[in-house]
């Protein structure tokens, strides 16, 4: 078994210093904003995520190694190009894990934590799940192990990928050079991903390479005319870390236990967040459709613009 460092653990001191730097920059320029309780919640969620990750790592690593040792088609070794290939394939797997993390309620229950802040700054990057292990996300990486890339390399690349994603959680950077914006995930693209404006919902799932969103039709560019408003469609009314970590799981439990049929129970897990048998709640598709109808319903372009901006002006 290859002995590679855990990049995210090594990066923690840099994360702390960069959050501090962004705070000071935001205080001086007004281009970044923090709120003490929100920041504390994000950082506590980050610490909890590290602890829960450490507690469940043995099982995840064990499963990955068992699949690799038992079923791998090739033995690709540990040459430099294997690391490059692993990074690209892991980023591709991340795209689908992340996409399903928004489109399947079971996976959303873990990922929703990351979107639960109404602020968007570097501390938001650290607001991570405590319950990722209880989702099927590891299955999306199985093809990489089956191909013959040793799991340690894949986990190492996943760590680098997460470190990359830290710096894009900021309003302090407007746009990167055009070529960079085309190929890579940037603060601008990721602001759209974190926005709850109806027109921005369910977009820009990329980790590092933006090309996946462009290929699979989920790319939406940031529009200066509609500034991003961050958070959930229905924001949390609490900073309590336990409620933040578990609220969607509790919601699923209630729905599944009260469902009338087995089909409904399964769909409460596998359908998009907001799905109900009677349509009494709204999925992101329904929210977007309703917003389009409202916007189209205003006859003059000025009124349509006003209707669109009601979602962004409020805070």
């Amino acid at each position: 078994m290859l002995d590679l460092p855990a990049p995210t653990q090594l990066a923690v001191p840099a994360f702390v210093l960069l959050v501090l730097a962004e705070m000071i920059y935001g205080w001086k320029t007004g281009r970044a904003r923090f709120e003490a309780k929100d920041t504390m919640t994000s950082l506590i969620m980050g610490l909890g995520s590290t602890i829960s990750g450490a507690l469940t790592a043995t099982l995840a690593i064990g499963l990955a190694y068992w699949v690799w040792a038992t079923f791998a088609i090739f033995d690709l070794g540990a040459a430099w190009w294997v690391f490059v290939l692993a990074f690209v394939l892991d980023d591709f797997a991340y795209y689908w894990i992340h996409r399903m993390g928004h489109r399947m309620r079971w996976m959303w229950a873990a990922h929703v934590i990351h979107h639960s802040s109404q602020h968007y700054n570097l501390s938001t990057a650290l607001r991570q799940t405590w319950t990722g292990f209880f989702t099927p996300s590891i299955l999306f990486k199985m093809p990489i192990f089956l191909l013959g890339i040793e799991p340690a390399i894949v986990f190492f690349c996943a760590g680098i990928n997460l470190i990359y994603q830290f710096w894009i959680h900021t309003e302090a950077i407007d746009k990167m050079p055009r070529w960079f914006e085309y190929w890579f995930n940037t603060p601008s693209h990721h602001r759209v991903h974190h926005a709850n404006n109806p027109r921005y919902l369910d977009a820009n799932y990329a980790g590092v390479f933006m090309v996946w969103d462009r290929m699979f039709g989920s790319f939406i560019p940031e529009d200066k005319a509609e500034p991003c408003r961050y958070g959930l469609v229905t924001d949390l009314g609490t900073f309590n870390p336990l409620r933040v970590a578990l609220h969607e799981w509790i919601g699923i439990f209630k729905d599944v236990t009260q469902a009338q049929t087995m089909k409904d129970r399964i769909l409460y897990l596998l359908a998009p967040p907001g799905w109900t048998p009677d349509g009494s709640r709204m999925t992101s598709d329904m929210i977007r459709d309703a917003w389009r109808e409202r916007t189209a319903g205003h006859k003059s372009p000025k009124k349509a613009e006003e209707a669109a901006s009601t979602t962004v002006a409020a805070e």
């Binding site: 935001g26 709120e35 950082l43 229905t234 924001d235 949390l236 009314g237 609220h247």
Partner: protein, 145 residues
């Protein structure tokens, strides 16, 4: 991850939060205008004019209740969360648990993400809020009340 790392992380969390508190003090208040903008955002399909609403704001806890003119639209519970505003649209006000106490009124909902909203009120304000909540729970058509 060992105990020293956890202790170091907790220290960093406290220091960063304290710096955020110091550099970004929350001076925003739950004004009527801010409240209505957020109610409109959370309840986009509810038609209302500002004058049709019954609004109750508690400045101490920065919590509010807005009762919509049409009975079927119910009410909105609003609370400031740090420097942001969170709204819950309650279509069935009777499902809310209203708990009066010596210090005010607590409104509890079966909502894990916002279980309670507290209002710190004097006797007259308490009566006013209870009247608004009773009005919201009244099956009559508010638009013609």
């Amino acid at each position: 991850m060992d105990l020293a790392q956890i202790a170091g992380s907790l220290t960093a969390i406290l220091v960063l939060s304290a710096i955020a508190f110091w550099l970004f003090p929350n001076r925003r208040k739950l004004s009527n205008e801010r409240l209505l903008r957020n109610v409109q955002r959370y309840c986009p399909d509810v038609a209302f004019g500002e004058d049709d609403l019954k609004v109750f704001i508690d400045d101490k806890t920065e919590s509010a209740v807005v009762v919509f003119p049409n009975n079927k639209d119910g009410l909105a519970l609003i609370t400031a969360l740090g420097d942001r505003v969170v709204v819950r649209h309650i279509t069935d006000p009777k499902a809310l648990k209203i708990i009066p106490s010596r210090k005010g009124i607590t409104i509890a909902d079966a909502d894990f993400t916002q279980p309670k909203i507290k209002f710190v009120l004097g006797d007259t304000e308490k009566e006013n809020l209870l009247a608004i909540l009773n009005y919201a729970g009244d099956p009559g058509d508010h638009a013609h009340a």
